[in-house]
């Protein structure tokens, strides 16, 4: 893989930090192997938990015999649902939909198991090995029941029920209507239908989950170390489950080896381990295995959509009517119902539709729960609308770019209110598209395609012009608050400590937040330390997901700095014997307006502020401020991705020849981090486009439970990238940033999909289901006779 960036990163030392491509301060400790992950946490007297898990997708439990396991030397205890469930609460869902029907989600199975891997009992032992040995000795008598696997069949009358007590497999329905759909369809020159499947995928973070809990009996408090994206949300949700006050729980998130949404959850294991630490008064640790991770950490996507599209002959897309079935698996996890609703909200993409109607049905099946996976609902929406755009072009014989341009709002129309009711903050979609064309050398690509087709080769060009919803979000749309918190402290030495509640976990915000603070305070970045991931330090936070950390967490830090500067002006005025109103601040110095030569820096001011001998009347000692930033709106990053592919007609294999991405994530704090996010996102999206799929057999057995069978792209599978950007600041925060964590995963799958279909179009192929594995592509070619 190689990457061509639009322009080399500027790293002149005189440049402001914001906008500089800086290497991550996090990297040295990670590269040297001295970072601390949960499994590295050493606790004196720790005991180890392992879970007995169901081998069946659907079965009743007739009996559980733990006697033999309990007798194994080194085993401290074996606990079943009957022992624990009433004391460890139920797994919360933060986004239940009105009228929804879902089962009580106990931390261990009760009288029935509902998916392969469902935890049935937990063994605690002196060592991990003994705990695993003891698992084999727990005898569970299961009575298997036919599994509900196909979500469409699950909706048929008379279908077996995943949860019989609910009387239905429908977990929820959700509808969205904007504009006059019937009128739009009446106005249409043409109507076409598309059926689009988004396969289930497995996040497969390199570091599986894990947690350790320590009960401090003297203080009656608990510390939980967990590999999560959301320590603060866990601190909000877990106390009620395990029966301790919130202010007696500390949640620590050390390094996290990949989350991608899969660690945006409160899982059974976290509650059980916390409960056991309290119950046994012993530090207790659990580390997830790879196969466990594939089976019992949430999955993503898994939607089936039937879409009806109304268009005019000039390429105007008038309306979309969609029926979407979301296979949500056996239980609701934290955000399970919310994910497909994001698909509905974003289904119009970056286009001015007249009407939209989306009906979503969430269906329970005997699988692991589906929940947020990088992009979470938006990749599905973008894939749908971007396939629609290409389909329209194909149907009408128009240029796909012209169709897109025809339907996009102009830059002057922002803020732009969509037909689904969202207000896109800012945008210039045409500029990103134009730049991507330029970077991709569009005319040359067209020529290459022409030449290739003349030679009988299956060469395709695809593009996607996407918009996504990020910086989630105003509190009014978030179950537990959508603000973010930050704190800045000028230490007595003049060094600066920044504390964020956003809990970055690999995104590099120890670096980018320091860049923001360094510029705003006018100090060297080396003087700043960014703390995160510990609720005892970061007192508040709503954590990292939905590409929110910089837009919200960064803004909270900037707000805090502004407060400190204003406060410090009073102190500087006293020391400079001037009126506070005459004090100015620039480049880290406070001075009397017009007398810049006589200035005071942070070092002297901090010392004065803490020693507190010369404080002006009413000046509170110390230089620290914190802020909650409540955003007025989400942000809406956008961009254009273009790629060229060639399909081997003999094997069906797709080769990506070149990949171009122009992303607009608003103001750029650190272009190097942005590039890394885009690269990683495209890689995951490429996996979803070409190879990744989570497969259950008809009995609900997971067939893709390890890397041997679950294909993810390796470095050799990643094509050459050409990356560029446009910069359209967001008005929703004072930094103007939008977020970029999911851009690649949202833009790339439809781009690759459109390219593959374009490559196959000379054969008359207009649709292939995701992922475009060689076999599926080959079969599509065979069905068309395989000839031009």
């Amino acid at each position: 893989m190689s990457t061509t960036t639009e322009k080399p990163p500027v790293t002149k030392s005189t440049q402001k930090y914001i906008g500089r491509a800086m290497k991550r301060v996090e990297d040295p400790r990670l590269l040297k192997g001295v970072g601390t992950y949960v499994d590295d946490v050493q606790l004196a007297g720790v005991v180890h938990a392992e879970f007995v898990r169901s081998p069946h997708a659907n079965a009743s439990i007739k009996s559980i015999n733990t006697d033999a396991a309990k007798k194994l030397p080194g085993v401290i205890g074996v606990f079943t649902g009957a022992d624990i469930n009433e004391k460890a609460g139920t797994i919360p869902c933060a986004s239940p939909l009105p009228g929804g029907k879902s089962p009580v989600h106990t931390v261990l199975a009760g009288s029935r198991v509902y998916f392969v891997g469902h935890p049935v009992a937990v063994v605690v032992a002196k060592t991990r090995a003994i705990a695993r040995d003891a698992l084999e000795l727990v005898e569970v008598d299961y009575e298997p029941i036919p599994a509900v696997i196909d979500p469409e069949k699950a909706l048929e009358k008379g279908s077996a029920l995943t949860h019989p007590e609910l009387g239905t497999n429908v977990a929820f329905t959700w509808g969205l209507a904007g504009g006059d759909v019937d009128a739009a369809f009446k106005e249409a020159d043409r109507v076409f239908k598309l059926r689009i499947l988004h396969q289930r995928v497995t996040p497969m973070a390199i570091e599986p989950r894990g947690c350790a809990a320590s009960w401090h009996s003297g203080e009656s408090s608990l510390t939980l170390w967990t590999s999560t994206q959301i320590p603060h949300l866990i601190r909000t949700l877990l106390p009620g489950m395990i029966g301790i006050p919130e202010n007696k729980l500390r949640v620590v998130t050390p390094e996290v080896g990949g989350g991608f949404g899969s660690k945006l959850n409160l899982y059974s294991e976290e509650a059980v381990v916390s409960h056991l630490a309290m119950r046994l008064n012993r530090p207790t640790k659990w580390i997830e295995g790879r196969r466990e991770n594939a089976a019992v950490t949430i999955h993503g996507r898994d939607q089936i959509g039937d879409h009806e599209v109304a268009i005019k002959n000039d390429g105007t897309v008038l309306a979309i009517r969609s029926n979407i079935i979301a296979d949500i698996g056996s239980y609701l996890q934290l955000l399970t119902p919310a994910i497909p609703t994001l698909t509905g909200l974003m289904i119009g993409g970056c286009y001015k539709l007249k009407a939209v109607k989306v009906d979503i049905t969430g269906v329970h099946t005997n699988k692991m729960s589906a929940d947020a996976y990088r992009g979470a609902g938006r990749p599905e929406a973008t894939y749908i609308i971007e396939r629609v755009m290409d389909y329209v072009a194909d149907e009408l014989g128009l240029d796909p770019i012209e169709v897109r341009l025809k339907n996009m709002p102009q830059s002057g129309e922002f803020p732009f209110t969509t037909i689904t009711g969202l207000q896109y903050d800012s945008g210039n979609y045409q500029a990103a598209l134009e730049k991507a064309k330029e970077l991709a050398q569009w005319p040359r690509l067209l020529k290459e395609r022409e030449n290739a087709r003349a030679e009988g080769r299956l060469f395709g060009i695809g593009l996607s012009t996407y918009v996504e919803i990020c910086a989630l979000g105003p509190s009014k749309i978030m179950a537990a608050g959508g603000w973010e918190w930050g704190c800045v402290r000028i230490e007595i030495s003049g060094k600066v400590t920044v504390i964020t509640g956003a809990t970055p976990h690999g995104q590099g915000q120890e670096t980018s937040f320091a860049q923001i603070a360094a510029d705003r305070l006018g100090i060297p970045i080396e003087d700043i330390v960014v703390l995160r991931g510990d609720t005892a330090t970061a007192h508040f936070g709503r954590d990292t997901y939905g590409s929110r950390a910089t837009a919200l967490g960064g803004t909270a830090i900037a707000m805090s700095i502004d407060k400190i500067i204003e406060k410090t002006k009073t102190l500087a005025a006293a020391l400079l014997e001037a009126a506070p109103a005459d004090i100015e601040f620039a480049e880290g110095k406070f001075f009397v307006r017009g007398s810049e030569a006589k200035s005071i820096g942070w070092g002297q001011l901090a010392s004065e502020a803490y020693v507190a001998k010369n404080l002006p009347p009413g000046f509170e000692p110390g230089l620290e401020a914190s802020s909650f930033f409540e955003p007025p709106n989400c942000t809406f990053p956008f961009g254009t991705h273009i790629c060229a592919v060639e399909v081997d007609r003999d094997t069906g294999q797709v080769k990506i020849l070149k990949y171009t991405a122009v992303d607009d994530c608003g103001k750029q704090v650190n272009p190097l981090l942005i590039e890394g996010q885009v690269q990683g996102g495209i890689a995951q999206s490429l996996g979803a486009a070409l190879m990744e799929r989570t497969v259950y057999d008809e009995n609900g057995q997971l067939l893709t439970g390890e890397f041997m069978d679950y294909a993810i792209p390796r470095a050799l599978d990643i094509p050459e990238y050409a990356l560029g950007s446009t910069e359209t600041p967001s008005p929703s925060n004072l930094l103007g940033v939008k977020g970029v964590g999911e851009a690649g995963t949202i833009g790339a799958t439809p781009c690759i999909g459109n390219a593959v279909i374009d490559a196959l179009s000379p054969l008359g192929i207009r649709h292939v289901d995701l992922p475009f594995t060689p076999e599926r592509v080959w079969r599509a070619i065979q069905e068309k006779g395989g000839t031009l």
Partner: protein, 272 residues
């Protein structure tokens, strides 16, 4: 992983020390598969690395590869220049869905006795007309061609307690011209099809070995490079549709197609 059913590990000085073979015994070499999943029926491991067999013994007659030879040793082996087909060693060693850590421990014999369709050491040694030397318990040793040794998905010719001692690759095969084709979903992924063709430069004999796409190796021999139709017909005879593997890496239909496709490519390449 820990094998919690194991109660004893034996390290005999020679195989003859294991007189009586019991249910629950398992030979242990590299252990990369053995320790990768629970072995609930196994209680005793017999470590054959204690036999100290020389990993690779080259002679004018060919190459004897001990069952305990590490994959990395085979990968690094420097063959005589006239053994043109020895270039397949590296290609097949890199056809594992495995990291270098596995290469360092996994053995050639272990991969063969695992007898999975995508075992690249099976592909290699079958294509190079390897002969398995088998040591039954308390009986005289016997020899079985690798192509016949693997009888199905995870099935082979070993009797209970019988030990794979070595695989002998004849120099005549190693001197052949070869063509190699492999198909995977991802680079370094598990093989969906792995075909190797060889052709004797003197006599013109053509041998096609199909692995990974089929449940067991399928080997076709022709006195000279056959016509395309002849080759396809022979494939149809030797590998009926039911013999093609069906798993998440590919369906029988796609595997059969790839087999035809690569077989023809190999035929053409070796015709030149």
């Amino acid at each position: 992983m820990d094998l919690n059913t194991i109660t004893e590990v034996l390290r005999p000085a020679e195989p003859e020390a294991v007189k009586n073979w019991h249910s629950g015994y398992a030979w242990l070499a590299g252990g990369t598969w053995l320790f990768s999943e629970p072995q609930i029926a196994t209680h005793t491991l017999i470590d054959i690395e204690s036999f100290n067999w020389p990993s690779l013994v080259a002679s004018p007659e060919g190459l004897e590869i001990a069952a305990t030879c590490k994959v990395i040793e085979l990968d690094r082996f420097t063959p005589p220049p006239e053994w043109k087909a020895a270039q397949l060693f590296r290609k097949c060693c890199r056809s594992f869905l495995a990291s270098f850590k596995i290469w360092n421990e996994a053995t050639v014999g272990g991969n063969i006795v695992m007898s999975l369709p995508a075992g690249p050491m099976i592909s290699l040694t079958a294509a190079l007309e390897g002969i398995c030397k088998l040591w039954p318990r308390n009986e005289a040793s016997r020899e079985v061609p690798v192509a016949d040794f693997v009888t199905g998905n995870h099935a082979n010719a070993l009797a209970p307690g019988e030990l794979l001692r070595s695989i002998f690759l004849p120099a005549s095969a190693l001197k052949k011209n070869y063509a190699f084709r492999r198909f995977t979903l991802t680079h370094l992924g598990r093989s969906e099809a792995l075909l190797i063709g060889t052709r004797c430069p003197e006599r013109g004999e053509f041998v096609l070995t199909v692995t990974a796409s089929t449940l067991r190796p399928v080997q076709l021999r022709f006195e000279t490079v056959p016509a395309a139709e002849t080759l396809k017909n022979a494939l149809d005879q030797a590998a009926p549709f039911e013999l093609y593997l069906d798993d998440v890496h590919g369906s029988p239909g796609h595997r059969q197609h790839l087999t035809y496709y690569f077989a023809e490519q190999i035929r053409q390449e070796l015709s030149a």
